[in-house]
Amino acid sequence: MIVIVDYGMGNLRSVQKGLAKAGFEAIISADPEVVGGARGLVLPGVGAFGDAMTNLAEQGLDQAIRRFAGSGRPFLGICLGLQLMFESSEENGWHAGLGLLQGRVVRLPEGLKIPHMGWNALRQLRTEPVLAGIPEETYFYFVHSYYVQPTDPAVVAAVTDYGLEVPAVVSRDNLIGIQFHPEKSSAWGLRILKNFGELVGNAGYTRD
């Protein structure tokens, strides 16, 4: 079962609906035990980084997510969910993140229109299972004011050009993060959710 983490930070239903359209049932849960028992985990999110970490910690979800991520089962962070995967963010001060990947979250540079909101084309840097079948130059829908700066550039699987190269898809082992909103990005966004669903389907319950 795919579990969508409910920590009071929006867009859960649209992600659930997107997965359903792609043929995968997902449940929404705020229970660390349910999160721990998931076959695949989705961490969506809209809002401020600091609030999100506070909410996760209050419900014991931060530890549950870290344990899940270490278990080798497929994990997908979307938008704020992607940013939370990193070590820290400078959004409204300094906040520690989940630290699943090394790097930080910083504000888009001055002079750009912020938030970055709209359709931007994806440039794929390497083969990435969650992007299987996605044509080059495919447009996806972005809404964000901050972006991730991974310590290891090799985790970046795809970028979009928005005045600078914005990491749009990052991945390492079982961890996948997506800056745009696949659930709001037409047929190709659904294809990404389907790819993730298939990754979950193909992964076994190893370790944990």
Binding site: W119, P135, E136, Y139, S186, A187
Partner: protein, 240 residues
């Protein structure tokens, strides 16, 4: 520069019209999806798909087929022909078309272009089809009172980034593209241009590629590819 194979669809078939005339139609294939797949195999990086029935009727007529193409190939696809409402724009982009081309709408309903650009940004292309410098509309059956450069400037103000510029005197004629007209347009406007119509040799590809610094970004090739006078692989090599 991109070399973009054109797939013009009429009554479910892949065809080519001569100067846009319905009674001068050449049928290349009865299976446009297969054609799309073939161009992909041969190295195309984009496809240009036009619903000709839609262009003449003023509303899409080969929607299912276009959907099939978009979902079959893993290439970005730009789609035009008969797109005259925001609902149609949303539907096409929603099913996975990379970009849509608004033609007649740009002249008759600039508000639609404006709205589409606000919602989808650079995914909206405007098709400017010219004959003797004037803009043709309604599937090239009517001439408007606008010059192509005027329209180019107007759509640029609306936030359009890219146009498909077709010289209909040249389209399907295999007599060479209107390089001079393309250059004039490129100089007059700050738009990226995909040139279309008339390409009939590798030399034509070279001439258009020479305009790359002015903003000519691609060339749509139709009849020349289907009749074999231009071989896609060679054209791609020159254009790269």
């Amino acid at each position: 520069m991109l070399v973009i194979p054109a797939i013009d669809i009429r009554e479910g078939k892949c065809v080519r019209l001569i100067q846009g005339k319905l009674d001068q139609e050449i049928v290349f294939s009865t299976d446009p999806v297969e054609v799309a797949r073939r161009w992909e195999e041969r190295g195309a990086r984009w496809l240009h798909v036009v619903d000709l029935d839609g262009a003449f009727a003023g509303g899409m007529r080969n929607f299912d087929l276009i959907q099939k193409i978009v979902q079959t190939v893993s290439l970005p696809v730009q789609v035009g022909g008969g797109i005259r409402s925001i609902a149609a724009v949303r539907e096409l982009l929603g099913l996975g078309a990379n970009r849509v081309i608004l033609g007649t709408a740009a002249v008759m309903e600039p508000e639609l272009v404006q709205q589409a650009v606000e919602e989808f940004g650079e995914r909206i292309l405007v098709g400017i089809d010219g004959r003797d410098g004037k803009v043709m509309i309604e599937g090239w059956e009517a001439v408007s009172n606008k010059s192509i450069v005027e329209l180019g400037k107007e759509v640029e103000k609306m936030g359009v980034k890219r146009i498909v510029l077709t010289d209909i005197r040249r389209d399907g004629m295999l007599k060479g593209p209107n390089v001079e007209g393309t250059r004039e347009m490129a100089l007059a406007c700050n738009l990226k241009i995909i040139a279309s119509g008339g390409i009939s040799s590798l030399e034509d590809i070279r001439s258009l590629k020479a305009l790359e610094p002015y903003g000519v970004e691609g060339a749509v090739v139709g009849r020349a590819l289907y009749s074999g006078v231009v071989v896609l692989e060679e054209a791609l090599r020159i254009a790269d």
